[in-house]
């Protein structure tokens, strides 16, 4: 009798740890890295960017503040010796600005392929390699199959993959663990959680400008 109850207890505990189980507001154990914005971390399951998964940041024009959202994390992870890859950025990542934000430049690799296929290929290679803990990518073209490949590569390499995409893709189905929509308001940068695996979507956080 007691043994059976113990077994049942164990099974329930295992179930409760499963990130797929929706449990209201309690966050299941998800491995994540702090974004560096404490208020924002509290909204995310695991408390930050999910590891071994894709994050999508959907925003309308370049220059809305999409990089400032990730810079504190990039600074912390490069100072700890982690490598960061920037694949297919739309403009030149400006070294003085990154350095001023605390990013250790020798740990950053910029890859600028000529083609959309090259961007996807390079991002997949880097995510899978286990050499890059974090890969930021700006794919020019993505369908769901390609997103799934990137998601699998991030799982294999236990890497944090962050994709920057245009806001019009918000309605597209995506295997990403976390999807954010950015918009600029009078108060600052408004971040809406469109989807988050193991957490509650629809919540908003506003970064002061």
């Amino acid at each position: 009798m007691t043994a059976a109850a113990g077994l049942r207890g164990e099974a329930v505990a295992r179930l409760l740890e499963d990130p797929r189980l929706f449990r209201g507001d309690a966050c299941a154990a998800i491995r994540a890295e702090s974004t560096g914005h404490a208020d924002f971390d509290r909204l995310l399951p695991g408390g930050g960017w999910p590891a071994g998964a894709l994050t999508e940041i959907l925003h309308a024009p370049a220059g809305i503040g999409e990089l400032s959202l990730v810079l504190p994390y990039l600074a912390r992870v490069t100072q700890a010796g982690g490598r960061v890859g920037l694949v297919g950025p739309p403009y030149i990542p400006y070294a003085p600005a990154l350095a001023a934000a605390g990013v250790v430049l020798p740990r950053v690799t910029v890859v600028r392929p000529d083609t959309a296929d090259g961007t996807l290929w390079a991002a997949e290679q880097m995510l899978r390699s286990q050499c890059y803990g974090t890969v930021l990518a700006w794919p020019q073209r993505t369908d769901e199959r390609e997103l799934r490949r990137l998601q699998l590569a991030a799982e294999d390499g236990a890497a944090i993959g962050i994709l920057f995409r245009d806001a019009r893709h918000a309605a597209q189905a995506s295997p990403a663990a976390l999807r954010l929509h950015l918009a600029r308001t009078a108060a600052g940068l408004d971040v809406e959680i469109l989807k988050c695996r193991g957490g509650i979507s629809g919540r908003r956080w506003c970064a002061a400008a």
């Binding site: 809305i64 010796g81 403009y91 600005a97 990154l98 020798p106 910029v110 890859v111 000529d114 090259g118």
Partner: protein, 479 residues
Amino acid sequence: MLWLCLLPHRLALEALTPPADAPLAVTERRGPRRWVVASTLPLPAGADWGAVQALHPQLRAVGRNARAERAALESLAYLAYRFGQPVHLELREPARPGEAPVHAVWVEIAASLRLFGGLDALLAEARAALGGQPLSCRIGVAPTLEGAALAAQLDRPAARDRQELWDWLQGLPLPALRLPAETLAALRDSGLRRAGELLALPRDALARRFGAGAIGYLDRLTGRAPDLRPAVRPPPRYRRRLDLLGEVDSAESLLFPARRLMQELAQYLRARDTGVERFTLRMRHAGRAPSALELRLLAPSRGAEHLFQLLRERLERTALPAAVRELELCAEHFAAPEAPQPDLFGGAGRRDAEWRQLLEKLIARLGADAVLGLGLAADHRPERACTTGMPVAGAAPARLPPRGGDDGGRAPRPPWLLDPPRRLAGPPAVLGAAERIESGWWDGAPVARDYYTARAGDARLWVFQDRADGQWYLQGIWA
């Protein structure tokens, strides 16, 4: 002295790439005579081409390519370097119609026997090394060059000293000796059958009868006279031309010759005890200018497989402008590869090597310009304050960015830069005060600009007005 002789007995055929898929004969021509030197079919040596063609109408013939033979033989000589020094090679052209060219490489191994743990271990190592390259070789060991060549040709066990060689020569049939055919015929007519009988004859009588050449050969064979030849040395620059059998029109079909080139390059690098930093593969086409692929490595390497994987990654991405007739590999930049260091604190060295291999893969496919590391430069002009170059290796410690003396108070910079700046049609809606930058009058690229932050929709832009002409430009984006 103890010589190991490598006798590539099918070199005339195996020097050709890619290997023939149909029956093929290599022929030599002198005047009206054309005879078979080597063939994929078992044909008698020196068979007349006309007769062979009548018997085997499907057989294709190509002329001998002495240049390809020499290049392949040199690569074999570089391979021999790993067993000792000096190394010699010989390419003897056929002296008369019906003969085949003779190719041989020798390496002195007496000094390296202890290193390899005895002759048997060395020979086993040599057979393993020969198995990994395209030339099929016979090997022989003797204290003289000519003796070793004979031992290889007749597939005899090793003769370790001159006495053993002498004893072995006694029973050798005369025609095996590398003497001119007319000398051999005269000796046979005199009733001599064995080399021992010839060696027992008085030397001065032999010299009078057959000339100094024959007696010189016998003396070099038995070790009575020294055998002086120039040693092969790996040249400071590596060049290897590879004629292709016919034209190759797909990059995939180039993989086979590419593998061979990388194998031979690795043999050369090992002979020089160095690694290659970058190399160029030039492809010659029929009726148009040659095209070239340049490959750069992050760290010097000499692994044949590693080099081939890089080249393959690149070849598979390359569209050939036309069919390829000839490949030429050039390498001039060498450096000793880093020895793998044992690592005390969990494989950081191994991870670094994996990282380098990943970058090389990216570079091979996307081009060297597409993979960049970031750096800072002390310059007030925004477009010159950052540098891009090859990513740097090494486990950089946790380090804060360098702050120059006057850097601390510098105004903030946007994370996106546009280079060159984009000209704006009219003045934008600027916010705040200007930052004036005037610099560069000393090096021919002077700037005099007022920088502002401007708002355009939801985005904030970094713009400047050129004070020389009053034009507005967009140079950065606050993201």
